[in-house]
Symmetry: D2
Subunit: 172 residues, 4 copies
């Protein structure tokens, strides 16, 4: 199967990070990109706590968890940097979070559009070579997400070739 | 014990209600007044779902659940009518909610101050005669809150007198 | 409404108690009688933990929680004193528990039959005067059970008469 | 690292299976061996529900979940075939379960001893080549267990050799 390279993030501002958040800077890591809105109940009750658990368990093993605030509704209520800053503070979210770059009025934020996401929460798993391996809208169980992470962590750093005793082929 | 009359609400705007929310208008009902902030994690994960459960179970039995949005921090993020409106919509909160009237800058909102609340969430139980019977800051278990509600529902409508076969005395 | 006096317990053996468990001995207390089987999943996951929470919160306020092991199936697996003893030990159940007296083969245990219970778990609330005030088969929410307990705790010790300023009538 | 071959199961009776349960018969599958006792609260509330979730999610992907009833205490209460049969029926456990073969009095059951288990629940993950890859006593989170399963599922069927573009080496 030909795997799709994960489109680079297009962001407007970052929190919990010194430098702009880019996927290029995370190459070599397994990345969990958690897309959310602060006023999305499923994001607050399920996806963000799960992302925090992933960060706790797997950061030491080569996983980077990053949040992406992709506001596509209620811009007055949740669209400002101040609103997100207060939210991240109150919910004690310690992993890096970026604001998805807004597009023209009425359009989806730019990263959300590039990934053709259907809404929030959407979680995207990106392998060490920067390719999308799993993208899902809505709740995912810890078992299934864990299995996907474990599978990617068990791949060699350069998975562009798949090797057997008989030889190596390009692209899985 | 001399019971304290619940101070009247001082509010700036109401949602899910046609008329201004007042305790006077709820006399005869047991009232659960749930004070919250939309960016308070304990309010969102515990107190508001509990208030909703109380409304589901006890509205038909004479309990009125009302929410009070008492913003004392992060005014930029959660202080606007638009922000609260979006929050109530997304979290599908159907009971009446009012914005606690702001005081001068740096001071607690007016109702919060009148009740000497320590923070959010604070839940207040008010009896049919309009008196405070329970006020607590932080999480309360369903068993304990249920017991307090059940006790008030089991009181006669005019509890100002307590009667025994021997006679009636004023004030419990 | 004419309330039914709770039939006296008929038991074969007691745990966590020095004397035989009787309702007569608990007159003046609000009693939660929790009927269960050790191999009933709903009893183990829901009813017994709830009974334990009731004991923790309300024992000091005049509520007695007692368990009744009413075995009506799988007698080989759960019908012995040893099996129940091991269960109570492992699950750290500290409130008094009695074995419901077995009847002739194929019949329901005697107390279960006297209360016309439909299965396990069944929880029965008995007021201070020894009358059944609530009996329910299957799960009950903490809010609803709490409200029922709170209502009974808020009744005078001798609820056989209901008094108003106008006078007292016998039986609520 | 030299990996240990999982000792073969030594069992006395099987449920939900036509043939005696053996690891040899499951070669080529990733195996989750869940060791439990029916009167162990952590087994009932956590480990067995988790094993059931693993079976639901991963049976179709090459994982076999098997239970092992390793009774080392309360033999009177939980040591009989009838007791376990009733338990499996009531808890609707559909995956294969075997009774760990009892040893001489006072000794641990034979499989439990062969794995040097410390108690119940103990979960063991065995790879497609029949080697122990993870053994843990007590609760494991779904994320961590999922990651371990995902890693094993992502290994080639014959993991005895590890290959890179440069060549293959024996034993990971």
């Amino acid at each position: 199967m030909k795997l799709k390279t994960a489109p680079e993030l297009q962001t407007a501002h970052g929190f919990n990070t010194q430098e702009p958040l880019t996927l290029a800077g995370l190459r070599g890591q397994v990345v969990l990109l958690e897309t959310f809105q602060m006023l999305c109940p499923g994001c607050v009750s399920h996806a963000l706590p799960q992302a925090r658990r992933v960060a706790e368990h797997f950061t030491a093993h080569g996983v980077s968890v990053i949040g992406l605030h992709s506001v596509f509704e209620h811009h007055d209520a949740q669209g400002s940097r101040e609103a997100l800053s207060a939210f991240l503070h109150e919910y004690r979210i310690g992993f890096p979070v970026a604001i998805d770059a807004p597009a023209r009025e009425g359009a989806l934020p730019r990263t959300m559009a590039a990934y053709a996401m259907q809404g929030t929460p959407t979680s995207v798993l990106i392998d060490r070579a920067g390719r999308i391996r799993r993208q899902s809208f809505g709740p995912v169980t810890d078992l299934v997400l864990g299995a996907a992470i474990g599978a990617l962590l068990n791949e060699p750093e350069t998975p562009a070739t798949a090797c057997t005793p008989e030889g190596c082929t390009v692209e899985q």
